[in-house]
């Protein structure tokens, strides 16, 4: 059962629009939104939530003002600047608390509690394209990497128990903690980029990350006609570095039009970007099969 991840480095290159189109074309896939920070896939898939569970991860320090003597040892020990002076004592800023427990351990008055932290919730849902595993991280919450790992585990369980042939995941922008977590154990990453200086710069870094974790990566150039000269240099860079070019798409208003109708672009017609996406999806399937054989 192959696992395919759609990422981009730079945000706004079209990850989610393309993931929704692939979900429509794949049919037999467990879908997964791993952009837990700013998830958007549900906007197009209109999920019916079947189960909803809290995501509890890590702990946070809470000072009991009645027990605090104001000695300030917690503030001295805290490396995250989370201890704030308040009145004669101290308070923890939950937005800055890393959950490391150092202040809890060293507080001479035993005035700091360490309750578990609710960081968000996650859902198992039904959509018209298949089951969706997704989540919502609380605003400003930590542990997005652990939430991503949890969603991937749940998607695998579901795929195994219900006999799905593919896991298709929409990833987060960037190259940090949630993206690293989403890459672990996937068979291949489809990187969606655009022919702008930032698109190219961010592509090189996210491809570097795929290499670092030994995940085969292929590229789709979106909005390719925006700067054909950049598209050409992107493709030659890819060829020189052994990166599969899975296709290119022109800038097309039909992506936004489909988004407004809460549909995948492939549901809105068979020509234009929909036709190209069908060809790209065929190519991706062949490419994954080849990667699986090589591995």
């Amino acid at each position: 059962m192959p696992e395919l991840l759609v990422i981009s480095g730079k945000g706004g290159t079209g990850k989610t629009s393309l993931t929704a189109a692939f979900a429509h074309l794949a049919r037999e896939a467990v879908l997964c939104d791993l952009d837990v920070d700013a998830p958007d896939l549900h906007i197009l898939l209109a999920p019916e939530i079947e189960t909803r569970e809290d995501f509890i991860s890590g702990h946070e320090a809470v000072i009991d003002p009645a027990a605090c003597t104001g000695c300030g040892q917690c503030a001295e020990r805290c490396r995250f600047g989370a201890v704030v002076a308040e009145g004669a004592g101290c308070r923890i800023d939950p937005l800055k608390c890393e959950g490391c427990k150092v202040c809890v351990h060293f507080c001479p008055a035993g005035a700091i509690a360490f309750p578990a932290r609710r960081c968000g919730e996650w859902y198992r849902s039904r959509t018209r394209f298949g089951p969706l595993v997704h989540a919502r991280l609380l605003p400003g919450a930590e542990n997005s990497g652990r939430l991503v790992a949890l969603l991937r585990e749940k998607a695998r369980e579901l795929a195994r128990s219900a006999g799905y042939r593919l896991i298709l995941a929409d990833g987060a922008p960037g190259i940090g903690c949630p993206v690293i977590s989403s890459l672990s154990g996937v068979d291949a990453a489809v990187v969606v980029t655009e022919p702008t200086p930032s698109g190219i710069h961010d592509l090189e870094r996210v491809i570097g990350l795929c290499r670092h974790f030994r995940v085969p990566a292929g590229v789709i150039v979106n909005k390719a006609d925006l700067a054909p000269e950049n598209t050409a240099s992107l493709k030659s860079w890819g060829a020189a570095n052994g990166i599969a070019c899975l296709g290119e798409l022109g800038y097309d208003d039909r992506f936004t039009a489909a988004m407004i109708r809460r549909q995948a672009v492939t549901e809105c017609g068979d020509d234009g970007p929909a036709a190209e996406l069908r060809r790209i999806w065929d190519r991706i399937q062949e490419w994954i099969t080849r990667q699986a054989r090589a591995a």
Binding site: D37, A38, R77, P94, C100, K101, G140, G174, C177, M259
Partner: protein, 297 residues
């Protein structure tokens, strides 16, 4: 004044707005790229670099000869970065968050401070010397961006304070710890959004995430006319001033694709960003909203 340009959704135009604001700013200004995972501001401002330094996180180095395998370090560590198995002490520095707890708690002095490279901090100037510049670049493969962001913020303070410069921050996308970290130093948060369903949805998430910080917020609508979501109604209800609307215009996309600062390449956009800079001064001076309860208390 410190202005942070943020968004929720990626690709809405944060870097365009931050680069243009720095470009048209009256008086000394420092442009700071805090999207250390995928920094882009330098691609447009094209700064001349004056300095760079590596940033590192303190992680433990284990000295098994001194260890009595009491397990105090492993009991304290919340990040599975250190473990004691029988008479084996194992440190996993790549898991470490740098809290220093294990080193402090060890009764034998068997853990010494070492370091893990997070990436680098770079600084310089752009626009013929008018614009100070500072950025961070996360090492590819490094998971933790907040500690590197803290190093960039410290460097930015060092650069801005003696120069008496205002600061424009280009924040990373999202609503979790890196985004919050990036807007925390700001006097004003400018949310850049687009009126598409994705743009509007993530804009609301970002607004909700930043509200507990109690900072004034304002909005720049990019690709105005696209999508048709009721951004204006939302902003009216939430008391969020819309400071500028950037039209959906292929000339802007082309200038961006060429790596130009849009305000430098297109005269009508230069005027638009000058008006935006003026209005930003006005909003930062206005009274602040009352902070609400912290989100994960």
């Amino acid at each position: 004044m410190i202005v942070a340009v943020a968004s929720g959704k990626g690709g809405t135009g944060k870097t365009t707005v931050a680069s243009c604001l720095a470009w048209v700013w009256k008086g000394p200004v420092l442009a700071v790229d805090l999207d250390v995972e995928e920094p882009n501001l330098h691609l447009f401002l094209k700064p001349r670099l004056d300095g760079r330094r590596p940033a590192a996180l303190e992680v433990p180095i284990a000295d098994e000869a001194r260890c009595t395998f009491c397990g105090a370090c492993a009991d304290l560590c919340q990040f599975k970065a250190i473990t004691v198995l029988g008479s084996v002490l194992l440190a996993f520095p790549e898991m470490c968050h740098g809290c220093g707890g294990c080193i402090a708690v060890c009764p034998q002095g068997a853990l010494a401070p070492g370091s893990r490279e997070l990436g680098e901090v770079l600084w310089g100037h752009a626009g013929g010397g008018r614009i100070g510049f500072c950025m961070g670049r996360l090492r590819v493969g490094e998971a933790l961006s907040p500690p590197l962001m803290r190093a960039v913020i410290a460097q930015a303070r060092e650069l801005a304070l003696p120069a008496g410069a205002d600061v424009v921050i280009d924040a990373p996308p999202g609503t979790s710890c890196p985004a919050i970290q990036a807007v925390s130093p700001a006097d004003l948060i400018v949310l850049v959004t687009e009126p598409t369903p994705f743009g509007f949805h993530d804009f609301r998430l970002a607004h909700e995430a930043f509200l507990p910080l109690g900072k004034p917020m304002a909005v720049v609508v990019n690709r105005a006319g696209l999508g048709g979501e009721d951004l204006h109604g939302y902003c009216r209800r939430e008391n969020l001033p819309i400071l500028a609307e950037i039209p959906l215009d292929r000339r802007i996309a082309r200038a961006y694709a060429k790596g130009d600062v849009v305000a430098a390449a297109l005269t009508d956009l230069h005027a638009l960003f000058e008006r935006l800079a003026d209005r930003i001064g006005g909003v930062a001076d206005a009274p602040r909203p009352v902070p609400e309860a912290a989100p994960h208390a």
